[in-house]
């Protein structure tokens, strides 16, 4: 019960996501597994060890492993498309570029956050050939694309993927054009939930970011 206020605090910073939920479940499980006769100091050390191992293996090493695996699918001459900015897709692209593969990237972006701009900046700095389009141009460029790389927020028990808004659209367009869609997702984001649409559980942003009606538009 002691950790409840901390969890509430985290939930207040940012609504509890699937990955956050899984991590908290993991911690609670480890706490429950501590034998009652163990000394407090020792128990704390053990728990800290578990937490660090989780962070190291399930998050950091996982990213490395996924990047390596995805790299094997990137061929010379590929045209990769990605949506917004996913750290694992960014890592894969940079690793592939450093390995000397020759390919180019099309970044699809959307309002209001324009997260793709950040990815664009980072990739261009590394020397990757990039193009930048908004979501409405996605079908226009799709015929040049050879693979779509997406990140994920969560993967559900029925294989459905929850990701940044717009991913479903990109994936559908890709399917229509016979372009393979590869989703990169660490296993700590896997959820035993089943969701068949996007309404039932979601996070909302600030509507004013999209259309601000407060001041005079003229």
């Amino acid at each position: 019960q002691r950790i409840k206020p901390y969890i509430n605090f985290i939930a207040n910073c940012r609504p509890l996501s699937v990955s956050m939920g899984n991590t908290i479940k993991f911690l609670k499980l480890k706490i429950a597994e501590v034998p009652p006769e163990m000394a407090e100091e020792e128990a704390k050390q053990q728990l800290l060890g578990h937490v660090e191992a989780f962070a190291r293996e399930r998050v950091l090493l996982a990213d490395e492993a996924i990047s390596k695996l995805t790299l094997s699918k990137i061929r010379d001459g590929d045209v990769l498309m990605t949506l917004g900015s996913s750290h694992i897709v960014k890592r894969t692209i940079i690793d592939a570029h450093e390995q000397g593969r020759s390919f180019r990237v099309i970044i699809v972006d959307s309002r209001p956050r324009h997260e793709g701009k950040e990815l664009l900046r980072k990739l261009v700095k590394r020397g990757v050939r990039c193009s930048y389009v908004l979501l409405n141009a996605c079908s226009y460029v799709m015929k040049e694309v050879s693979k779509v790389l997406l990140g994920a927020h969560a993967v559900f028990a029925n294989g459905y993927v929850m990701s940044r808004v717009g991913s479903a659209m990109v994936a559908m367009l890709a399917k229509n054009a016979n372009v393979p869609v590869l989703v990169c997702c660490e296993t700590y984001k896997f959820s035993d939930r089943v969701q068949t649409d996007s309404f039932v559980f979601n996070e909302l942003g600030d509507p004013d970011d999209l259309v601000c009606l407060d001041h005079d538009i003229r």
Binding site: S72, G77, F103, R104, K143, E144, K147
Partner: protein, 409 residues
């Protein structure tokens, strides 16, 4: 996994290892096995060669043995055209080697265990062909018309068994250029008294209406349940799917590979396009065999009726060339997919010779400098496959990944 991913890059290391006597002996053993026992699947020959190496090796630790075996597999893969089988079979064996190493720490005892169990593995795999043939029997009913592609020993085994059970059925075999392996399959079937007709590759859609089921073998089965097989299989699968005919694959479990192709041009290395050498015998044997079969086909009783025998195939000397097309740019607005096909090809000028339709050899036209691609294998996605008959049972394509996980873990 590295064996199937990008192949094992073995250049300089291979030559160093080949100087190792035991390894050279194993390689020689492999070559001989493949040549002499045409009945033996290549993967089994590779495993046998690995076992022989284990028996002869002067290695003293497990790590050394494992590294040597990996190098040996690389050598074997390089010495054959289709190395997927070699890679997949040996991958399974290597898993087994690793597990044995953990279970039995004493090196000599481990070696002995590896050889005995390895031989048992080979025996199990050998028996798999018969198991599969048995599983397929209820699907070949009396009066059935079977369509098959190229030469598959497993399909041959199944059909022979059906014939031995006194079932009446007839077979169409696609000729499967460029090496005309389908003709050889037809000859083997005919030797067993099975009613068989060779079908031109382009006539597969033409005969499909009359067919009851399609049976093919496979070079490899990939993670999503799709198969890699002689080129033309995918075409056959699409036509069968459109005309609602069941498409069955007969394949042994040691051909399951841990690979997921994204499209036709994303196949494991060791399975790609290679040009057929013009000096090889196939062109002459195709000609002679087809004329024989064309003659006998008219006399063969088929239950389809109304099917006339295929005409004698025009003699086609092996087209050699594959084109490289324009220099590839990674950029530009051109689709990367066109490049993907051309990139895999090798630039060799080709000469295509064509006989006139009447088969008159004297009236040959010579077309020079026409580029041509002639891949050896293609990938059939799981959506077009009805069932896979394996020694692990009859599987739907979606069950393959489950079985793969069980096999490898």
């Amino acid at each position: 996994y590295t064996l199937c991913g990008h192949g094992v890059m073995m250049g300089p290391a291979a030559t160093a290892c080949a100087s190792n006597e035991a390894m050279a002996a194993a390689l020689e053993f492999f070559r001989r096995s493949v040549k002499e026992t045409s009945d033996l699947a290549m993967a089994l020959a590779a495993i046998r060669a690995s076992i022989k190496y284990i028996e002869d090796t002067k290695a003293t630790t497990m790590m050394e043995l494992r590294d040597d075996l990996t190098a040996l597999v690389g050598l074997l893969s390089q010495s054959v055209e289709f190395s997927i089988q070699v890679a997949s079979g040996c991958d399974l064996f290597m898993r087994f080697v690793t597990r044995a190493a953990i279970d039995v720490p004493d090196f000599e005892a481990c070696k002995k265990l590896l050889t005995t169990r390895g031989n048992k593995l080979v025996e199990e795999f050998r028996a798999s062909r018969n198991k599969i043939a048995k599983l397929g029997q209820p699907f070949i009913r009396d009066g059935a018309v079977v369509l098959t592609h190229s030469l598959s020993r497993v399909v041959l085994c199944a059909l022979r068994r059906a014939a031995a059970d006194k079932k009446r059925f007839s077979v169409f075999v696609a000729e499967s250029r460029q090496d005309g392996a389908g003709v050889e399959m037809a000859e083997q079937l005919r030797a067993d008294g099975i009613a068989v007709t060779v079908v031109a590759d382009s006539a597969i859609a033409y005969v499909m209406e009359a067919v009851d089921l399609v049976l093919v073998g496979a070079e490899g089965v990939v993670e999503n349940g799709g198969i890699i097989n002689k080129v033309g299989t995918f075409q056959m699968a699409i036509v069968a799917h459109t005309l609602k005919k069941p498409f069955y694959v007969l394949v042994e479990s040691f051909k399951f590979i841990r690979y997921y192709p994204l499209n036709q041009y994303d196949l494991p290395s060791g399975s790609r396009t290679r040009r057929s050498s013009p000096a090889a015998t196939p062109s002459s044997s195709v000609h002679s065999s087809t004329t024989n079969l064309a003659a006998t086909a008219t006399a063969t009783a088929t239950t389809t009726g109304g099917e006339h025998a295929p005409r004698a195939m025009p003699q086609l000397s092996l087209p050699v060339g594959l084109s490289a097309g324009a220099p590839l740019e990674a950029g530009g607005l051109r689709s990367g997919r066109c490049d993907a096909v051309l990139r895999e090809s090798v630039n060799v000028p080709s000469v295509v010779t064509e006989a006139s339709p009447t088969g008159d050899v004297a009236a040959q036209r010579k077309i020079v400098d026409v580029d041509m691609i002639a891949p050896l294998v293609d990938y059939t996605p799981p959506a077009y496959i009805t069932l896979l008959f394996t020694d692990l049972g009859i599987l739907t394509p979606s069950a393959v990944s489950d079985e793969l996980i069980k096999l490898y873990y």
